[in-house]
Symmetry: C2
Subunit: 496 residues, 2 copies
């Protein structure tokens, strides 16, 4: 290999440390400081500390051999080493390293690692094809491809619901869900069936069985859920339409976290036959796209004609204050022309608590029969929710129902025909390693998302970018039945 | 970005040249000479000329934007630039460039490019899942995953045969082909349905509709076919078993080109129901693996007990001489202990011609009914073969039949119970840009592969490596019905 003294030894010391996951040696062989770089398919890490934290969390690299090496000696203290790697399980990759000798030893100042891609990303997809299902008609969606959340019936396939045990027991579906059939009939094809949080009972996307789909615009952060795979498929360019559901935020949260456009439809506006329920009082069909034009085009295929016309755009400082500073700063430029209104914020915790009780009781009513006695098929987070759900008493449910009904009336009365602007989520996407904080994030985001959920109202999430260049979302909540016009209003707002 | 004079301008000049596919500017912005490097998922290119030839052939890069850049200034004349890129269609990648200032201008001496992987590689697969089809039983293949050539019936899916128009007209299969069912029953799952040359009538893998599957161990060279997708899936680590067919070499050629183990079974030894025919007199089931142990394990599942015992291992200098020098040198170390025998070589061209006439006539008999009047659904190479096939006269067929029958008797008599060593192919995998030479390569390789084809004999291809580190294959042809033992003999030979 190289003639630079010690470089060959350092290169192979690194390779051995990588294969044995010797974190201390790896830390030593990467140059200290904030400008050291390491990039792979998950994104670019900047700074020795970020790289070290990544290594500590991943549990080792796949076994590989070095097939060939090339060295470009830059000067006495720098050399570029390019290696072709081959995974023991097959497939080749490449590693490019810039090494620096700091007087003492060689260390890597920049590394770029590529490995052979797997057949497909099982965090995003369960099954995928070219296409998986061809169009059944022609129309406005010709040429578009759909990632279908694994809760919708696709003829000839099972519904997996994000749970391996559920998938194993599931029958082959004999017909498409209405929403799927609608897309196919308008000329779209199905690219595949995308991952979901278990039974859609999460907003995180951190499926315990299949992993967290990547979030390309916020590397090393969660995808958001429960429409997690569909959202990542659209972000990654694998599909143009991400079909999902929104009960308490499952479209709006991944849209905000990944910088996508998302629509939660008016409750009942799009038929839910062939769709596995979570909480039927709140469940809605929704979808995500990269551009508002396609969001609206899908709407004109799946939605009925609007039954309401959205009026004045308003916002409330109390709601904006529920988001972190970076999110609020990102959406404020789009709220400046909105009329300021009062919106009661102090009642939101009690509304959310009631929403969650009703959601839990309905989730247990939907799936408790199958889950009873086998809750251990679930990951810890969703299992904990179903355990609570199993314990909701009729009295608790009745009380929660009353609160939800009152809240629903108040939300609809207060909104009237207006369009309310609020943050889609309370924060940007949390880091994938911050699992301990996800429950708190869930609650603070649901204080915002539960308004449309309780109200049964349509909501559009518009992508915005924080000062740190992370995605976030501005949400427009409109009157029931105004879905199509609401998309147009959102697009106009964003275009300004 | 950087303060190094002119570097920022050079970086953006490169980006503009890439987006406009300005080949002259790109050539100028890459440093001249044989040590310049450029690597991406297709492999590492070494030397300015190889890089330039690659650019000239690919027709431009996908549209992208630069999301962020980082510069490490190495010294006055060198800088590393790392950029995060985002495709316009979604997904992020990374580009690492080492720039050098040669007194005159900045130029790249090494580049490493990663883009977001597509949902899956449509050159390799038509549909893929986790799994696509679960096992139906348990047994010796538990945990193995199969890439099924798109000629076999998989219940619930269509057979595509490598032709879009065929796929569009194909019915959903209601039951698995026998070979597929056998694998599933022994505990294997199906990873997916893999690409094939059109109706298996090629040895190249250069499907006109879906592209040429990658050959990871011989980058920028063809995959071999017609079991092209299954072979690449195994090479890439997407599946452990590549199920295919071998009529005139369609297992042995991709095995040799990609450094895999491959078995063509004795004609008739494994049932072909549910398998689209090419030329039934020669068609056989076959499979590819990365290791001989699994090749044999699949054999014990799909094959009957051996009906013959392979004896002495022999080789013939005349057959070895039909391969290029690099291939011959690579296999010779494995032939040194084989007894030298005479094998008639001068008759091979006439035997091959007769084989190809019978193959053509049977291919037309199998598919002429569907193809007549729509030959334009085929790519140029396979179309030309079917056009010839359509014109075979009964007299030509009868004459060819007689030659094939004589040849078959002579091959079987001469081989008796012995194992013949010969090159699997006449050459290493040709370059993907050398399409004009593929017909000549096909003929010289078929002079070798037609022996087992005409004889109806089992053949194992053992991977070897040339001096240039390219894959090639040593072929063992054994007596009919000796398949299982032949695999063992091949493994023993390779282990020495």
């Amino acid at each position: 290999m190289s003639l630079a003294p010690g470089l060959t030894e350092a290169f192979w010391a690194y390779e051995r440390a990588l294969m044995s996951n010797d974190l201390e040696a790896l830390d030593r062989l990467f140059a200290p400081g904030g400008t050291t770089l390491r990039g792979d398919a998950s994104g670019l890490l900047v700074g020795h500390d970020a790289i070290s934290a990544f290594r500590g969390a991943r549990g080792g690299a796949p076994a590989r051999r070095i097939v060939e090496t090339h060295v470009q000696e830059v000067d006495d203290e720098h050399a570029l080493v390019v290696a072709v790697t081959e995974l023991i399980t097959g497939g080749r990759g490449q590693q490019t390293q810039l090494w620096r000798h700091d007087g003492d030893a060689w260390a890597v100042t920049a590394a770029h690692v590529s490995v052979a891609a797997p057949a497909f990303d099982r965090r995003v997809w369960r099954v995928v094809g070219d296409p998986l299902v061809p169009p059944t008609g022609s129309g406005d969606l010709a040429g578009e491809s759909v990632a279908v959340k694994d809760l919708y019936a696709v003829a000839g396939h099972r519904v997996g619901a994000g749970i391996p045990a559920w998938l194993d027991a599931a029958p082959l579906e004999t017909r498409h869900a209405s929403a799927v059939a609608g897309l196919l009939g308008a000329g779209a094809s199905l690219r595949g069936i995308a991952r979901t949080d278990e039974l859609a009972y999460s907003l995180a996307g951190t499926n315990a069985h299949y992993g967290t789909p990547p979030n390309p615009r916020a590397p090393h952060r969660i995808s958001g859920g429960s429409t997690s795979g569909s959202a990542s498929a659209v972000s990654l360019g694998h599909a143009t339409i991400g079909l999902g559901t929104d009960t308490g935020g499952s479209i709006r949260v991944p849209a905000a976290y990944q910088g996508l456009w998302g629509l939660r439809t008016t409750h009942g506006a799009v038929a839910t036959d062939g769709l596995l329920p979570l909480a039927p009082s709140f469940d809605t069909v929704g979808w995500l796209t990269r551009e508002p034009e396609l969001l609206g085009r899908v709407g004109r295929v799946l939605l009925p004609e609007d039954a309401a016309t959205p009026g004045e755009i308003v916002t409330a400082t109390g709601l904006l204050a529920l988001a972190d500073d970076d999110v609020r700063s990102a959406i404020e430029p789009l709220t400046t022309t909105a009329a300021a209104v009062e919106w009661p914020v102090e009642v939101l915790p009690s509304w959310l608590d009631a929403f969650r009780v009703v959601q839990a009781a309905e989730a247990w009513a939907s799936h408790g029969g199958w889950l009873a006695g086998r809750l251990d098929v679930l990951g810890a987070d969703v299992r904990a929710r179903f355990e609570v759900a199993a314990g909701v008493t009729p009295e608790e449910l009745a009380a929660a129902h009353a609160v939800v009904q009152t809240a629903r009336d108040e939300i609809r009365d207060r909104l009237a025909d207006r369009v309310l602007l609020l943050p889609s989520t309370s924060s940007v996407a949390p880091s994938v390693v911050d699992a301990a904080g996800l429950d708190a994030v869930r609650r603070s985001t649901m204080l915002l998302t539960c308004l449309a959920g309780i109200g049964g109202l349509p909501a559009v999430s518009v992508p915005v970018t924080t000062a740190d260049r992370l995605p976030a979302g501005l949400c427009l909540v409109g009157p029931a039945g105004s879905d199509r016009a609401l998309i147009d209003r959102a697009a106009q707002l964003a275009a300004r």
